[in-house]
Subunit: 241 residues, 6 copies
């Protein structure tokens, strides 16, 4: 099985971490490849960044389809371009936010999301609503830690995540925690340990890896998104793309 | 007051109709100008079209902000790029779908939307949910009439709209009708008359004109979207835009 | 265009403020007149007050309809008699609470209402539910300031409003503030400035003026409430009115 | 125990039926008395009728409180003035619509209401929402039978009720039926029998009698509405009442 | 009228309290009998306890049906086996949680439940959702007081209930309190007094007694659960029961 | 990885089909074993059957935990005993209904469930509500085909499933279909083909296999249900188990 990760930014320095984590988590019969965008933003931290990433994502999604890839993971918690991408191809396209919210909904009574920035709180609430699991959302909390500082400051990031996760459990009645950025990959275990030490032993979900596992499962099941929801786009003149 | 209409397609032949209808509806002290996109699709009938229109929209929105325009109408019922556009500027940016759904919610018990294509039905249901008025949505019905045929076939389009509106009233208990495409502008009165003749006298909402009136009202009120919901995008490297 | 404000109390000393604020906010081609009730309470601060105001309101609404007025604003945040009034006439009848909640829902992620009295908190929650925008309501907070003290104590009222608005933004995640009494008219700008100084720059909505602008827009649009939702009352014997 | 029925109309010819049915249903230790309004409409079939009945209802409620009555039933499915009445007194005030919707919610998966007139359909949907049981409402259907014809045409009314109840069960998946007007009192058993014959054996709820039983139960329990929700109205000048 | 209380545990020492409280609350023409389980847990404080109580409950329910009993109360706030029990018989089967949540929904704006243990908080939230009254739930709070210590420690329990009830009123905006365990029977009045002294005069609901009164009312009304929702179980081979 | 299927009935003749389908679907490194109950019903088609299966399920779940099994699938769409089972062990326990509803929610706009019997329709609606995905449920339809006839009548069953699935797509706007009984395993592909031939090409979900894949994914992810939602049951006396 071949799974393509589309990391929807232009900051290629994240590449080694991404490949290492996805490869470690993938089943032995799964080949994971990662691509960055040709055009787009350095990171996605706003609706604006998100919007400018999408055309580049769609190009990579189409290309993956033409290469005969089995499934695609859009490697960002904003799930940028998820719906449009599903129109473009018929192979599974997985968004880490959608996949991890549905998994977390099964793991416990309510879940909280730890966002990178306070400005993204409304966006996660809107995503929970759009994905139909709003009633399972306990809260969204922020660590105020810009994406592009993540490569360097992992220790500080980890401590901030534990701190906010403890508050989510103790004040917001969260029973499950979702890391709110795929750039936090590799930290779930550490945060889970930190929570245990603080007397809050709850599952911590790494959304990028959940997306990978959801992709594997859908390919195994021979299932993909409904083309009744995501029909191919009608042919028409388009300038600039 | 100066209001800028951003018609988010490249099909400039719609220009005269757009200017005529908006100008006729605008208050005497309001100057309306319309721009099309430099890059983007011929029409918006899918999530894919929508996604490829947004970067072009954001360029026009930024430009309007720099010109000192008072408010912006994004002239498409998909409200493409609405959230990102509000991040880019602080003047009001109005989406016809959002504005007309909230108005329709005030006019009667429940409203129905008449979409151009069946494939857009889920999208309107999702928009009603995202805008917080899902409980006021009676149904979404389609006339199956591609956008680019609208310039020629207005009579047939009008008949189809009446037909579906009657069904919305009689079968879905709609008390208000929203035309589901800004390309239907100028037809609301005709459809309302058609409904009256068929024994279903309910208000018919022209979303483009509602967006204009909402823009006028917000400028008058000295109000615009909350920058707490739509903060300016963080500065960062972006390739290709 | 002629707009009739029905201020549903008997306390005529509010008259000059009302006329001044509405006239200042109205478009130049709009003539605003205000009437008080012949029978009813001195102020509306309970369901009981509300109920005893309604027959008087309906008389004034009917009279406005007979005078050929273009639209009516019921000048109270309880929207007393709104549904019955719409049955009585076919011209637009606007409730400040309904109109401002729908506008606030468009301006940001969630809004809070600042009520005059704690006892009115449930009522505003119920109104948000009835108007279909409950998911956009962040909270209702009270300034505990009786309506009839408002004429004298505007400075203290303004300070209390800023205080509660800051709490709404910081504790309840409100992104937009609605003043919860039409007697607070003229204070929105001041409260907005106060919020800015306190580091919470969010829009503050004056519901009375929003109602006026909504009335202007509906008349411009040639739209009014659906008579399918608000049919004329059946003729029958009625004693006492 | 003394229970006061306030029948909120001026049509006293309904008196004997009302007394007979309530007395037959009341426990042996319960004394039921019925009063009509001094001022108000002949029947309640609109928001307008409802509004004009409320001041008269509040007068009768206050009087019942002063007489030392134990509980009050407002004998109309619109529950007119229910909230204001609860402010006026501390003894239980029961609305047949609220009481029967909550009972029906316990009896089966979903319930339908059979309204007298099509124009009341939105009102019942709004009441289910306001009472917090919207998810248990299967549908509202109408028999189109004006209230004031009920005294004469009970046989035809009964047939119409069975007809619509069958549709509610077969088309709308109703598992419980609520008669939508207290003027239908005495017909529940007949309609239940009719449903059985038509292969739809489901419970049929008589809302007036349910209100009586709810009143009895609350008095037995020593419970009444929360004065935190329904505090006494503040003292103030009121003209005309 | 004969009402059977099924107390779904094996701890028979609760027997005298149960009989005394139910008998004191029952109408004079009602005979209450209580049975414990032949097999099952000592108390119900988990989904596990609940599951192991249900077969024993169903045996007692069937037996009550065969004895010609008029209605059954399952005497536990988890309402264990409620749906299955209603399949087994056609006489009313009342769950204290369902009955008291619907009553509390009528008494005030929102209600809180005081659970015995923190681990039961999600369960009460799920029950409010399942019974269709989630929007009326203010909060669930716990007194952390194991069921089997209740017989001895009633004074301490009462103090803890007042403490949590005060928090529910002051912090969670509860307007009505429901005692969250039928083992708390007899304490409602005391807790109500305690709340009054602390400046929070709101109704306190004893769920066991509410269940009894609901059973009495349904028998009086000649109503029971819909067999369309709860049809008799199909005949089939079953091992072990 | 070792996965234990607990088929919660006593009808062991289903054994070969179950093993064959699960083994064919499992990854090569996964060993699947199946157990039936020692005590319980022949099939699960009511709340009553469900209740009598649960103690037997919990015994098998505890045993699987003691054997060092990695994850458990409860092989029935009623998800009987799911919550109690998760209290008993800390390894993942997967319910096919919960897992397939969350997957279907990701695959398309809305999904429908095809139940075996009409009497189970409310139960599936309640499950969608309990799992937090009610807004994604288009409808529940029944094939009226008793579970114990499934072994013989697979061809007729398959035809009935296609027939109801077509109606779900065409009348209820379902974009995804879930087979409503794990006894339908092996038929998803056939039904999907049937739908394609009838012009309704949408994904068909086999819930048993989805449960298996969800179990595999959770074990890979090192995740299981939150013990904050599902704490171990308190020790106490229990008679009969």
């Amino acid at each position: 099985m071949r799974i393509r990760v589309v990391t929807p930014i232009i900051t290629e320095s994240f590449g080694p971490l991404i490949l290492q984590e996805f490869t470690a988590a993938a089943r032995s019969d799964v080949e994971v490849t990662n691509v960055f965008l040709d055009a787009g933003p350095a990171s996605i931290e706003s609706e604006y960044d998100d919007a400018l990433a999408v055309p580049g994502i769609l190009a990579k999604v189409r290309q993956a389809g033409e290469e005969g890839i089995d499934a695609i993971v859009i490697n960002c918690m904003a799930d940028p371009g998820l719906r449009a991408a599903r129109e473009v191809v018929s192979i599974p396209v997985i968004g880490p936010c959608e996949a991890s919210m549905h998994l977390a909904a099964m793991l416990g009574h309510k879940f909280s999301v730890l966002a990178v920035l306070d400005r993204l709180v409304p966006q996660f609430e809107d995503q929970a609503t759009a994905y139909g699991v709003k009633d399972k959302l306990a809260s969204v909390r922020s660590v105020e830690f810009p994406v592009l500082e993540m490569e360097e400051g992992r220790e500080r990031l980890s401590a901030l995540l534990v701190e906010q996760a403890v508050k989510a459990v103790q004040k917001d009645d969260a029973h499950v925690i979702i890391l709110g950025c795929t750039g936090m990959m590799g930290l779930a275990h550490e945060v889970e340990e930190g929570l245990k030490k603080r007397g809050c032993p709850v599952p911590v979900v790494d959304p990028a890896i959940v997306a990978l596992k959801t992709a594997e499962a859908q390919v195994d099941l021979g299932l993909s998104h409904s083309k009744k929801t995501y029909p191919y786009p009608p042919e028409k003149e388009i300038i600039g793309y």
